[in-house]
């Protein structure tokens, strides 16, 4: 990395190009800002029609091997779908379901994969339950536990920030089991105590799950020998897809700023002609461009050992910060209107706080990177 002569190269496949185009058009049609605001207000967590349409496009199985009903592509192709969704602040279980499928692929038993992956490709909703009330970003500092007795596992503890849990057919939760981190499948019918969380990003449906009182068969455990690697893989996959959401979001925030700066007048001039607004908007653009380059390099390198991890962490760091900056300025540059709920700036700012808070902010990833690179 520190060899300044090794020029990193982004690769972009035909599949990525096609998916990016399809997804860009899809999001422009299906997720105009009016729809996003309707989704925030909606009682149901999910638009079933939209979800079925996304399943029909094959988006839930992009990174699932063909033997399980997927397209056999990679997360690099998922990125091209998630980025435009981020731009439009779409709130769907696509990312949660994709990550759950990745968990199954990384550590699921044959039976688990054969049962669940085809269902997911067809539209079943799955989600991960990794966070806990401590708020710590470490995925292995777990308070929740599973205890075995006979063929049954008894679960205890609390999992937080479980996306779309109320709609999910399957939750995969991390727990401490015999002193180690483990992943365990919980089916819809086994959940007995879930609470909708009040989260800053109102496009999200996030739940807290109380595990106390849940028992599952021992066969619900994912392969213990693969769990540590699976958690590392999931963390990177989550960072990659969050980076895509944040990059897209940054672009959306910039569009909101630019639109206002081109049409709003103050002191008889378009406010976009003032350098005090124009130049920081350019800075937001430059940050977005840098983050986007890191994003697509992370997509290129994903899974390629330490170089892949470095690329993902850099993408997460740059994209989180880019969205934070652009959306913070979006509020400010709208002046009084920016202070209202009606202004779209706040939607992006809320998404930005979400993206920084989940799976580590820029400083967190720089600290990890410094141990790898210095």
């Amino acid at each position: 990395m520190l060899d300044s002569n090794k020029k990193p190269t982004i690769l972009f496949s035909d599949e990525q190009e096609q998916l990016l185009e399809v997804a860009t058009n899809f999001c422009r049609d299906r997720f105009p800002m009016s729809e996003t605001r309707k989704r925030i207000e909606a009682k149901e967590d999910l638009s079933k029609a939209l979800w079925d349409e996304m399943a029909g496009l094959g988006w839930l199985g992009i990174a699932v091997p063909e033997e399980f009903g997927g397209s056999g592509l990679t997360l690099a192709e998922v990125v091209t779908v998630v980025e435009p969704m981020g731009e439009h602040l779409a709130g769907t279980p696509l990312v949660a379901t994709t990550l759950a499928a990745q968990a199954l692929l990384a550590a699921g038993t044959s039976a688990q994969k054969e049962t669940w992956l085809p269902k997911i490709c067809e539209g079943a909703i799955a989600t991960l339950a990794l966070s806990e009330p401590s708020g710590d970003w470490s995925l292995t500092s777990l308070e929740a536990t599973a205890t075995k007795s006979g063929d049954t596992l008894t679960l205890k503890g609390t999992k937080t920030f479980v996306s779309d849990a109320a709609s999910a057919d399957l939750v995969i939760a991390s727990v401490s089991y015999e002193g180690k981190a483990a992943l365990v499948l919980i089916e819809k019918t086994q959940l007995n105590n879930i609470t909708r969380e009040i989260v800053i990003d109102e496009t999200r449906r996030s739940y807290r799950i109380e595990l106390d009182g849940i028992t599952v068969p021992a066969s619900a455990l994912l392969d213990i020998s693969k769990t540590e690697a699976a958690l590392a893989h999931i963390e990177q996959a989550a960072c990659l897809l969050l980076s895509a959401e944040a990059c897209g979001g940054t672009n959306g925030a910039i569009n909101v700023i630019v639109e206002y700066l081109k049409t709003r007048k103050q002191f008889e001039r378009y406010i976009g002609s003032y350098q005090a607004l124009k130049h920081p908007t350019v800075d937001a653009l430059l940050a977005m461009e840098a983050a986007r380059s890191h994003l697509y390099y992370a997509a290129t390198m994903f899974g390629e050992g330490i170089e892949g991890e470095i690329a993902v962490r850099m993408a997460k760091a740059t994209s989180s910060s880019a969205l934070a900056f652009a959306s913070d300025r979006a509020i400010q540059f709208h002046g009084g209107f920016g202070f209202t709920y009606d202004c779209d700036a706040q939607l992006y700012r809320r998404r930005g706080i979400w993206c920084e808070a989940q799976f580590g902010d820029a400083a967190h990833h720089r600290a990890k990177l410094s141990d790898m690179l210095l």
């Binding site: 708020g135 970003w137 937080t160 009040i198 989260v199 990003d201 103050q266 009606d342």
Partner: protein, 404 residues
């Protein structure tokens, strides 16, 4: 107005008395998250709680202590009031909700009002019986106050109001408004067509519509005027002389002149609270405060926060303000409001994944106070002249740079 200066011993005694009184009389936890300033008062329960609190302070003799006795004040030295104000900040007690009355309308009326106006308005300002709101900004020219378009058309000894004002906090609860309106649309100089009024709010033709804030809460309003009629006695200053009155009034907000009524009006966040948060929040299994990068950032905030306090102290030493006399006073609002925004943002970054909780979630740190406080911080970087406009003002008036 004030009697002879109290001795240090008298001040010390008073300080103790005040501390004891507030300790004994501090309000109980209302069971809901209180706002941090009058601009954030979003629910009736918040409003009545805060109004009662101000009334209680006033009745105890701890508000308007230095204002003239004949208008309901205490007629005592300002130093005593300052002690009270500091004690309220120290004990983190709720702010005085009739902020516009205490900090803008009150000083304005005391300075420029008729004897009649003083008698009519000042007591209710102090007791919070008469809530005031302000009608300066308009929807289409937020930063460009001189361009105000709300029409006040003379009709005999009345004016007829038509147009709209925005950001009228407490507008639904207000009895009066300070209003900047255009009495003459045909002047060459746009500033010369403006007049300044003290108007009643509860009259036909005035409608107040709440604005939902970016926090999801209420607190601001848009006020619509449709053929609302007011008497010419509502004028303060001359007809056509409103700009000068407005500028004098704004000077109270920009910090150039202290609000003498006393009581604090804004519960700012302090870095000490962020340090406390950093001790609780976790990073990589350890308290966040052990992270050297976080420590470095905390120190930057500590140093900045002390800068502001020291600027206040240095601002009172004339010999240390010779070269650019207005510099410290004019920059206080910009420096303070941007500091608040960044401090709140940093506080969020300490909370790990829990930064994504919001007001009302049981797992949100301090009930989501920081999330809301970060959003609300924009009211100060935007309101009263955006930070960008403040930069212009300081560049032009303090440094003498050419106009943009």
């Amino acid at each position: 107005m004030s009697t002879s200066a109290p001795s240090p011993a008298e001040l010390d005694d008073f300080r103790r008395e005040v501390a004891d009184w507030f300790t004994a009389n501090k309000p109980k936890d209302p069971g809901f998250l209180l706002p941090q300033s009058f601009m954030e008062v979003g629910t009736d329960e918040q409003f009545y709680f805060l109004r009662d609190w101000q009334k209680k302070i006033y009745e105890a003799g701890y508000l308007g202590m230095a204002w003239p006795k004949e208008y309901g004040g205490g007629g005592k030295p300002q130093a005593l009031q300052d002690i009270v104000t500091r004690e309220m900040v120290k004990q983190k007690l709720p702010f005085m909700t009739n902020t516009i009355g205490l900090n803008w309308a009150g000083p304005l009326i005391l300075n420029m009002g008729t004897e009649e106006q003083k008698k009519a308005y000042i007591p209710g300002i102090l007791s919070a019986d008469d809530i005031w709101c302000q009608g300066f900004s308009e929807p289409d020219h937020g930063s460009d106050l001189g361009n105000a378009q709300l029409k006040a058309t003379r009709d005999g000894n009345e004016f007829v109001l038509n147009g709209s004002k925005i950001w009228t906090s407490l507008g639904r609860h207000a009895k009066y408004m300070i209003l900047l309106a255009r009495t003459n649309p045909n002047t060459n100089n746009k500033y010369e067509g403006l007049s300044f009024f003290l108007i009643p709010m509860q009259i036909p033709g005035i409608e107040v519509q709440p604005i939902k804030k970016l926090t999801g809460e209420y607190g601001f309003n848009q006020t619509f005027f449709t053929d609302a009629r007011i008497s010419e006695s509502c004028l303060i200053g001359k007809e056509g002389g409103g700009w000068a009155v407005a500028m004098a009034t704004l000077a109270f907000e920009r910090g150039a002149v202290g609000g003498q009524a006393g009581g604090h009006s804004m519960m700012s966040k302090h870095v000490s609270e962020v340090v406390a948060l950093a001790k609780v929040a976790r990073r990589n299994g350890k308290p966040a405060i052990e992270d050297p990068v976080i420590r470095d950032q905390l120190l930057q905030f500590i140093i900045e926060e002390r800068s502001q306090a020291l600027n206040g102290s240095r601002g009172r030493i004339k010999a240390l303000n010779q070269e650019r006399p207005g510099s410290l006073a004019m920059s206080g609002k910009l420096v303070g409001s941007e500091y608040q925004r960044r401090l709140n943002q940093f506080a969020l970054s300490l909370q790990g994944s829990n930064a994504a909780y919001y007001v009302g979630d049981p797992l949100a740190y301090e009930g989501g106070l920081w999330q809301r406080s970060y959003f609300n911080a924009f009211s100060a970087t935007i309101g009263g002249g955006t930070s960008e406009v403040q930069h212009n003002i300081i560049g032009e008036r303090v440094l003498g740079l050419p106009k943009s």
